[in-house]
Amino acid sequence: MKSQWRRVRQLVVAGTALTALAVVAACGGGSSNDSASGGTTTGSADAVDAALKAGGEITYWSWTPSAQAQVTAFMKQYPNVKVNYVNAGTGNDHYTKLQNAIKAGSGAPDVAQIEYQALPQFALPGSLVDLNQFGFSQYESAYTASTWGAVHAGSGLFGLPQDSGPMALFYNKEVFDKYGIAVPKTWDEYVAAAKKLHAANPKSYITNDSGDAGFTTSMIWQAGGQPFKTDGKNVTINLQDDGSKKWTGMWNQLVQGGLVSNIPGWTDEWFKALGDGTIATLPTGAWMPGVMESSVKAGAGKWAVAPMPTYDGQPATAENGGSTESVIKQSKNPALAAAFVRWLNHDEGVKPFLASGGFPATTADLKDPAFVDKASAYFGGQKINQVLTSAAGQVVKGWSYLPYELYANSIYGDTVGKAYQSKSDLNAGLTAWQEALVKYGNEQGFQVNG
């Protein structure tokens, strides 16, 4: 009987030792910053075609609805290559897993979907493969200027644009007609329309804004602001520059006047509100029609698309949303991964993506008459792509995101959120946001001016 418990005690001691070993192992493996456990990433333009011929196996993480169809088509075309498609989550869930896997040094996919605003956060610490070495810079002419810029960080090229999101004004024509509101061409007209609408029907709002960092940055973009500038280690943040102030000067009237609904986007109530006229317009990216067709059936036939209102009446817009696919440094076959990215976003993969409702970043598709002149039943027969493709060419130049934009967006509600809640000055909120971002940047090793 004594030996019985002694053996158990040995087991417990062994278990503790194993644990201690695990801790040491974790400390050793986990504290390293870069995690290049993949192959070396020097290559050439030929390497990509050679990799396709040689075949292999890669893993692809994405949440786009067309991904499975694209993967199936790719494997049919290249039977030598096996692609494991994984939907690892949407947005932040996906980025969290990706960041964890990169930090751990293993478990990351070969190719991952990355939105434009998140790209610098992965590219700058060296987690992505620079595709310049495969000669991908030759594809510049295939894409719009704004999306081509969006896949660069510093001088490196980190993906090929998958889609774009030039902003336009989606409005509920039925509501506008009912209250005799003309489609606004300038922001002053927009604010006036907001007042008229809300006065006529206090349950109706011109749009909703419960504090969306992506929306705010795009609006500052459209106003010509350039609040974020990065040069290597130096970052400049100025959320009170001319463009920012231009936007807040206008938008403050809506927030402080209680003219925007506080229903948060992408919730059940939001879809309902779009369907029944509670929210009358949406200034948002060109990918919205697909969403409305599948999610806001009650609004069919009632909505239309117009160019974004501007400050001076001259055409100008910004991008909102859109992603690329990038090759992760951990990949053991970067040439093959790059080949897949090229197929997805430059070659035959583009068609299935567009068919599922995406808005192209490729100039050829943006000019294609079949695409441009397509009449949309949902939008009352309007040829909406005429408006949207022109918008693609009117994107204001010179914008860049922060190297830690994902973090910035996550704390938007903490700082600017207070202004929305108390219906007070957005400038104070932006200043608070700026202070938090400066502090964070300095803590992460940047030299931040602001």
Binding site: G29, P65, G165, V291
Partner: protein, 287 residues
């Protein structure tokens, strides 16, 4: 149902029942929403009031769609969850019962320390430990495997406390003495004498472990990136997130139906286990 109470059978009280019904209504309103939502199509969900039926009755077609969507991945997720629960919760109950019994009935050096360490460890918020756990498991090569889910679910500190208290109160030392004198070894004593007395506590611990493993979300989310290993919680969240962003295609009707189907096995387990609350009485054993 109430044989253990006083020989004077008390009368059923309508007043008490009435008061409890009020509380029941409070419990039921959100559940009613859930049930009613499973009868609606996606469009109805967005256009009809929450606490009444929709324009059409889509309960059965929702169930069919849930089970067949995406090549029936829901069934795969269901199978995964069952595996994690049977091994994880079952193992957790066994470990917690044995450990609670050991702490209650044996005096050994370090007993107080065990308790203090346990309390201290549970007091640290788990979400901040997620990344260290992930890194550790990654180094051990366990991420993206079923063990990443099962091993952490084997530890139920609350189960341990429960069993500790129950063992202290429900297992009289004299019974153990008697068995030992009859020549049984410690493990025999545990299995033949103590387990029966601990049954109500074991059932409670098992039920809680089952529910928490069944609804385990955060750790599987971090540990798994292969959808065919997902438990139901992570899978349904993925379906739910289809409503967001570029190319959104909401399938909320499948999410609520899937959630209802998720609850059903737990209810069945509850109903099957509840008769064990009747037994395990040490009535008469001390005399």
């Amino acid at each position: 149902m109430s044989a253990l109470t006083s020989p004077l059978r008390p009368k059923r009280s309508k007043l008490l029942t009435g008061v409890m019904v009020l509380y029941l209504l409070y419990t039921i309103v959100p559940l009613a929403w859930l049930l009613l939502s499973t009868t609606k199509t996606q469009d109805d969900l967005l256009s009809t009031p929450g606490l009444w039926f929709g324009k059409s009755f889509a309960f059965f077609s929702n169930i069919k769609d849930t089970l067949t969507y995406n090549d029936g991945i829901f069934l795969r997720w269901l199978g995964n969850t069952v595996l994690y629960v049977v091994v994880g919760a079952g193992g957790a109950t066994l470990l917690a019962t044995a450990a609670g019994y050991g702490l209650a009935k044996y005096k050994f050096a370090g007993r107080r320390a065990v308790f203090a360490v346990l309390l201290g460890a549970v007091a640290v918020p788990g979400t901040a430990l997620a990344v260290p756990t992930f890194l550790m498991f990654s180094n051990l090569g366990l991420t993206n495997t079923v063990w990443a889910i099962i091993i952490p679910s084997l530890v139920s500190p609350f189960g341990l406390y429960l069993m500790w208290v129950y063992a202290t109160d429900a297992v009289p030392g004299e019974l153990l003495e008697a068995a030992r004198i009859d020549g049984a070894g410690e493990v025999r004593v545990f299995f033949t004498v103590a387990l029966r007395l601990l049954a109500p506590g074991i059932v409670t611990t098992l039920l809680f472990a089952m529910v928490s493993t069944w609804n385990n979300y955060f750790l599987p989310l971090i540990m798994l990136s292969k959808p065919n290993l997902y438990p139901l919680t992570v899978g349904l969240t993925q379906w739910s997130n289809q409503a967001t962003g570029v190319g959104a295609r909401p399938i909320y009707n499948l999410v609520v139906t899937g959630s209802l189907l998720t609850i059903v096995p737990l209810v069945v387990a509850f109903l099957l286990l509840q008769r064990f609350w009747q037994s395990g009485l040490s009535a008469g054993s001390v005399k």
